[in-house]
């Protein structure tokens, strides 16, 4: 309820940059930015908070098959909120949102890897799998977010961000899938 009330106070929220029409966006030939989108984002100041709250109920799923080094690999990833209320984010991280005592949840990933139609890996990936990469504040308040599948050096990888919700305090980590085992890689 507090969160709902606080939304009304967010009329001047600006996400991680503030773009003025006076600023000139240059086109260097590699720039695919759409200045119209930039403008639109400023008209929707509470979008970051709303997007995060919506993500609780939005499972992210991948089911992809690729041919890699002569083998057919099928990767199924389901990333979901655990609704465990295990993370209490200190006020200093979220005072910009006019929120006190923000309690949020861990996210986990269910990962299944099939090699030539044989299940070789079936596991749940949690933030704790990346403990070796995490400083104290991310161990306490970080959440496993934004899975992305990528092929690198002959392996299927899943990139994640472990960040304190609603902030840009966080790091990128990678889960390298190596047959029946996996390896947490700090970036």
């Amino acid at each position: 309820m507090k969160i709902t009330k606080s939304l009304t106070l967010l009329f001047l929220f600006f996400a991680c940059n503030n773009i003025s029409p006076k600023d000139t966006t240059i086109n260097s030939g590699i720039n695919k930015a759409d200045s119209g989108s930039e403008k639109a984002s400023n008209n929707d100041p509470s979008s970051e908070l709303l997007d995060y709250l919506k993500s609780y109920k939005n499972k992210v799923s991948f089911d992809t098959t690729i041919e890699l080094t002569g083998n057919k690999l099928r990767l199924q990833v389901v990333h979901y909120c655990t609704f465990d209320s295990a993370i209490k984010v200190p006020e200093k991280y979220v005072d910009i949102y006019k929120i006190n005592n923000f309690t949020t949840h861990d996210f986990n990933s269910s990962i299944k890897l099939f090699k030539n139609d044989t299940l070789t890996l079936d596991t749940i990936i949690r933030k704790n799998d990346f403990d070796k990469c995490l400083p104290g504040n991310l161990r306490s308040y970080g959440v496993l977010l934004f899975p992305n599948i990528r092929v690198d050096s002959g392996f299927l990888n899943v990139d994640y961000s472990i960040s304190i919700p609603l902030t840009d305090v966080g790091i990128g980590v990678t889960l390298a899938l190596k047959g029946s085992r996996y390896e947490a890689i700090c970036r």
Partner: protein
Amino acid sequence: MTGISSQALQFGKYNKYRYNGKEQQNKEFSDGSGLEWYDYGARFYDNQIGRWSVIDPMIEKHFDYTPYAYVYNDPIKLIDLRGMDSAQRAQAIAKAQEYVRDKKDGNQYQMGAKGQPGEKVDCSGLVAESVTAGGEKNPNHGSESSGVLNIEDNTTKVKDKDATAGNVVTFHFDGDGYAYHTGLVTGVTKDKDGNIVSFTMIQSSSGVGPNEKTVTIGEGKLGENVNGFYKWDTKPDVKSDTKPAANSNAQPAAASSKIPSSSGYIPGNMFSVLQGLKIF
């Protein structure tokens, strides 16, 4: 210069872009002759004598070697992309450019996202990944409430007059809302007194994601709220015969042998990675 000619086949226009893709400045004089120097951005290189025309602007980092020699007289192994000591910063810029080049259609910005090129990333995520690509530890660590502030704490603020491509720039905004932003500087324009007039940076901005932008000092929301420029590169450059790992976050090996430890040159085998680098 006589010798093997690039015009032997006698077709197409004269190719002014020569060794390392640098533009040859020729026919400057009225009689059709010229110096035939190569423009490396920071200074001109005379390929006929294998020397620079002026000293290395970064000579204080390797003052024990002649400032006129090209890459310690070892052009087979080493490349100097800009005519100045810049290897770590060049690698960071190359990474940032990868984010812009690989950006997918639609919004690729997400608060808290620390993705790689082609994935969603926020402003401090793009800067931190670029810095780690330059061989430094991720600067977004610490007890601050913002990644931008963590980056400021873990780097060294430089005078505006000393700002250069590859530095991190940060912005502080007053009022309600998210108060901080950051980007990686890719070019700086200064007036005759050395004061910054404008700079170009690669940033990840809300509603868009990675993009390149020119900021004029004192103009617009960004130009009016520059907090400072930050130097993060501290390590010796990679040894010339050390093959860079595929993982761009790999730490460079310590320099050794005859190459001074503070060399800023880039091993030849990194050139393909850096060909997209914009020269200022």
